[in-house]
Amino acid sequence: MGRVSTADLAFGLFLVAVAAVALYLIADLPMGTAARMGPGYVPRALAVLIALIGAFIAARAFVTAGDAFPAIAWRPILLVGAAVGLFGLLLPRLGLAATAFIVVLVAGLAATDMRWKELILIAVGLSVFAVLLFVKALGLPMPIWPVP
């Protein structure tokens, strides 16, 4: 058959790992009986099932032909991810006006056809728009300006 389906292998191992973490986290929870199930009963059953399916998918990856793990375009993932992370970190300190500007700027860099002038204009515009819509009009409790 030749090639291993690395996409299936990755997904199978991911499932096994998630199941293992879950089983570890619920190790102390009582199982109970079928008539009086404890808090650990259903999660444990689910985790075991997930581990079994994960193992099956991973094993099948070596036997049946399937897709290889596709190439990943890192640029949008990193930049958009960074923009989201920055929002969480900065908002309580810098306020919405500055945070929105930074988030839009960083996310906007992910476009392959990015243009600096346009991006800065959009960032300023969206920052003003977000403050007016979300804080002024919708009354979300967010600071607008940097919190001392």
Partner: protein, 499 residues
């Protein structure tokens, strides 16, 4: 007659200026989203969820549902003019709709799409109004066992209709169920899988997961693809189809409405499947099947009627049973629960204003959509010229603000980021997130009903097959699974999902 009285209640709610405005806002945003490729209705609903929490429940539901069926209308505009499905259920509309546009008949194609959608939307609204009373009455007889079996059927349906490998969809459902259980166990008060984080006691934030998986992750994936939109410059001078064309379209519209109405109710079903099925039926029954794919107006009318009917009737399981049939309906359940309403058959009796108001607004929304989509089509076309690089930073910002505003929580932003990355991974390994979100929503409900049913039967699982309704639901589940593993059906399913 009760139906008339109920609809009167509904229209009284839907016709208040505020609700008319929210309905209009919903269908307007829905059309926008449908027109613009790269923004899915599920993404939009996820992003807008947090902003609806300050609204009364009826207004929130009216607006969110407007987005959903509005996107079905808007999607056809892009399908016909650009040959891109603005929305997944418009894929088949591309086939003949775009051919018609190339032949200079973009006007009639757009008009018939709107007419078919409106026709189907109207019929489907009536079906919802008529079917919901007996279904809710039936559902009130449900005990824990029936609820559990119904949810099993629903999840199996979402597996059957997921794209790609069925076993991956099974894994996604189970994964969703497991993550849905994070938080304090209601029966014992013990924290489960919370990593000692107090905030996780209430479970993983639903909005954070939904926006991460369907919003941010979608951006990350979409940006790695080239964004190509070649607009067909069309003169929309002649908008109306000829009398003969209209007459030719009546049977496809009727058949499409019937197909969509049935498939929409099925668990996991909905708009996309309905339009595929309708197209296949029209091509099979046509006396001139060779015209299909070359600009047959019936190939636009049938699927457009079907996808709109399907979008509409997929509200039936949600409204009557409280069980979401697809991922978008799962978001609606989330919206209701955050509003403090437990969706289920009791909603109709306990909140008739909400229930009938939403149904009445569907018809009003459909009416607004005809107006939005026919005379204003030029406006929507010009929107298509807005490049993605201008749209997506705004989407990213709104995702962040929406998630954060739920409880002013940095943890939610962190979770959203994690699920965005996991979502990209899911796309890369070919696992669809829709069954996951359905499992996530149903997880706590299923566990609760499972434990209660087992408790009442003293641990004997026979209870699930002893009770006739529960047994029937499980029988349907087995049937669905059997069909799923049959090789002939598998081949057919793959064929359907090929483009």
């Amino acid at each position: 007659m009760d139906l008339i009285a109920n609809l009167a209640t509904g229209f009284a709610v839907a016709l208040t200026p505020a609700n008319l405005a929210f309905c209009f806002l919903g269908v307007l945003i829905g059309t926008l989203v449908g027109v613009l490729p790269g923004i899915a209705p599920i993404t939009t609903i996820a992003i807008l969820l947090p902003f609806t929490f300050t609204l009364p429940p009826a207004s929130a539901m009216i607006m969110l549902s407007g987005i959903f069926y509005g996107a079905q209308y808007g999607g056809s505009t892009t399908a016909i003019l650009v040959n891109l499905p603005g929305e997944s259920s418009s894929i088949v509309t591309c086939l003949d709709g775009h051919q018609m546009a190339k032949q200079g008949r973009a006007g009639p194609a757009l008009a018939i799409a709107a007419i078919a959608s409106f026709f189907a939307g109207t019929i489907a609204t009536i079906i919802i109004a008529v079917a919901s009373v007996p279904l809710s009455a039936l559902a009130l007889k449900f005990t824990a066992a029936e609820y559990f079996s119904l949810m099993v059927l629903g999840l199996t349906g979402s597996i059957a209709l997921a794209h790609g490998s069925a076993i991956k969809a099974v894994a996604m459902v189970l994964l969703g169920l497991l993550l849905g259980l994070v938080g304090i166990d209601v029966n014992t008060g013990l924290p489960r899988m919370t990593l000692g984080i107090g905030e996780l006691g209430d479970g993983i934030g639903f909005v954070a997961i939904a926006i991460g998986l369907f919003g941010i992750s979608e951006l990350m994936v979409a940006l790695s693809r080239p964004q190509d939109r070649t607009l067909l410059s069309v003169a929309l001078s002649q908008l109306w189809p000829s009398r003969k064309e209209l007459r030719d379209c009546v049977p496809p519209m009727l058949r499409g409405t019937a197909i969509g109405s049935i498939l929409g109710v099925l668990p996991g079903g909905g708009a996309a499947l309905s339009s595929f099925a309708s197209y296949a039926v029209e091509k099979k029954t046509s006396r001139t099947p060779e015209r299909f794919g070359r600009g047959a107006i019936e190939g636009v009318a049938g699927p457009e009627a079907a996808n709109n009917a399907g979008a509409q009737t997929s509200f039936i399981p949600l409204l009557t049973l409280g069980i979401p049939g697809n991922a978008i309906m799962a978001l609606m359940v989330g919206a209701l629960m955050i509003q403090g309403i437990q969706p289920g058959p009791q909603v109709m009796t306990a909140q008739p204003q909400l229930f009938w108001g939403v149904i009445a607004s569907m018809w009003l929304g459909n009416l607004m959509l005809v107006i939005l989509n026919l005379p204003l089509v030029g406006l929507w076309v010009s929107l298509l010229r807005v490049p993605y690089r201008i749209l997506f930073p705004a989407i990213a910002l709104f995702c962040c603000i929406g998630t954060y505003s739920i409880s002013n929580s940095q943890l939610d932003i962190g979770l959203m980021l994690i699920f965005a990355l996991v979502g990209v991974f899911f796309v890369k390994v070919g696992a669809e997130p829709a069954p996951f979100i359905l499992g996530f929503i149903l997880g706590p409900l299923m566990e609760e009903n499972f434990r209660r049913a087992m408790n009442l039967s003293r641990g004997d699982p026979v209870v699930f097959v002893e009770r006739p309704i529960s047994a029937a639901l499980l029988f349907l589940t087995v049937l669905l699974l059997a069909v799923l593993v049959l090789p002939a059906v598998r081949a057919k399913r793959e064929e359907v999902f090929q483009e």
